[in-house]
Amino acid sequence: MTKEKEEVQELEIPIELLEKDPMELAENDNDINEIIKYLRATRENIRATESAGKRITSKSARTKPKQYKEDPLSILVKEA
């Protein structure tokens, strides 16, 4: 049985911004907005991970897990 490879979009952590000198960062609205955009996206991913019933790992914040189109219980019942 071959496993289909999913194309997973992974968020890039803005490490250089998160590790920037806090005083310099506070002066730069563009950098702050980049961080906000990244953190908002991580929230979506973590929420999706939680609603898919998966464990939160370091990867969960960066990737959105595959979502069930149907109720997970009905899938289990069908497969049984």
Binding site: P22, M23, A26, I32, I35, I36, L39, R43, I56
Partner: protein
């Protein structure tokens, strides 16, 4: 006659330290173990082993306060988030970026601010307005508390829902925000003390107390709230108990003896003075000198300096 600028939290009488203005932290410390209270609050011993405080909780508090005050002023969500992040970076950024615990570092604070705005920008609870027109945020209070003592605290915010007022306090924790966690606040010294001060002394028509909790992990932040409606007779009983506690503290001060309570040794992962109390009294100072730094409250330092001048 020279008037003091403010009332002192601590004083020195006959060379011995005494607390004059109490708060929930010192009250809980005293109730938990009088010897612990003496070591930490009166003597000012701070552990060298325990990590340096990075101000994580204070940073989250500040971030949320800026979000609230910007919202009150009519800022958009995006503007409020940027203002909040800037304030935290300037005040706590440097210390937070040194944090060893990643669940309590700079990124965690920024995440808490951004996610908080997403979660609660459209909130049913509205920030109450002061008679001056200012938002009811970060209000300090200090009220008479028994025989010659005073009690102080800081109310994070007062909110209203359906015309009813609630005190609201932000708590940061690593614990899961379930019924076990929220069970810690009923009964609770802070909840009862703040309701007592607000209702009985400040005369505010406060219905209850809201614990506005934030769980921070390395990769996530979660939020949850619980409302505590505490009947007035329970609050009055708490006050009677508190007066009794103050009498006990005066008694210990007069005798200059603060007994240990071994039932508290293993609370919250273990008391940091466990090794000290396990040593014989004649050797305790060795442990205190090795593992702790002595940094008494500024009021006490000032009083000792004056006494020695």
């Amino acid at each position: 006659m020279e008037q003091p600028d403010r009332l002192k939290k601590f004083d020195v009488i006959d060379g011995k330290p005494i607390q004059k203005i109490w708060d929930t932290s010192s009250l809980s410390s005293f109730l938990s173990c009088p010897r612990l209270y003496n070591y930490t609050n009166l003597q000012g011993y701070r552990s060298k082993i325990y990590g340096m405080a990075t101000g994580f909780g204070s940073a989250v508090h500040m971030g949320f306060e800026v979000l609230d005050s910007e919202k009150f002023k009519g800022a958009t969500k995006d503007e409020a988030v940027v203002a909040s992040i800037k304030a935290v970076l300037l005040e706590y950024g440097e210390a937070l970026s040194q944090a060893e615990d990643k669940a309590r570092g700079l990124t965690s604070v920024l995440r808490a601010i951004v996610w908080r705005a997403e979660e609660y920008w459209e909130d049913l609870f509205e920030i109450a307005t002061m008679p001056s027109g200012e938002p009811c945020l970060e209000q300090r209070f200090e009220v008479p508390f028994g025989n010659g003592y005073r009690f102080s605290g800081r109310i994070d915010k007062i909110v209203q829902l359906d015309g009813k007022l609630y005190l609201c306090d932000v708590k940061t924790t690593k614990s899961t925000l379930n019924s076990n966690y929220f069970g810690n606040f009923m009964p609770n010294n802070q909840v009862f003390a703040y309701l007592w001060a607000a209702r009985e002394v400040l005369g505010l028509d406060i219905v209850g107390f809201i614990v506005d909790a934030v769980q921070t992990g390395v990769h996530f932040t979660r939020f949850n709230r619980s409302v505590y409606n505490v009947p007035t007779d329970l609050i009055k009983e708490w006050y009677e108990d508190a007066l009794h506690t103050l009498d006990t503290s005066t008694n210990y001060f007069n005798k200059q003896y603060y007994p240990a309570d071994f039932t508290a040794c293993n609370n919250y992962g273990g008391c940091r003075f466990k090794e000290v109390c396990s040593a014989s009294p004649s050797r305790r100072n060795l442990f205190l000198d090795n593992d702790f730094e002595k940094e008494p409250h500024p009021d006490l330092k000032e009083a000792y300096e004056k006494a020695n001048a």
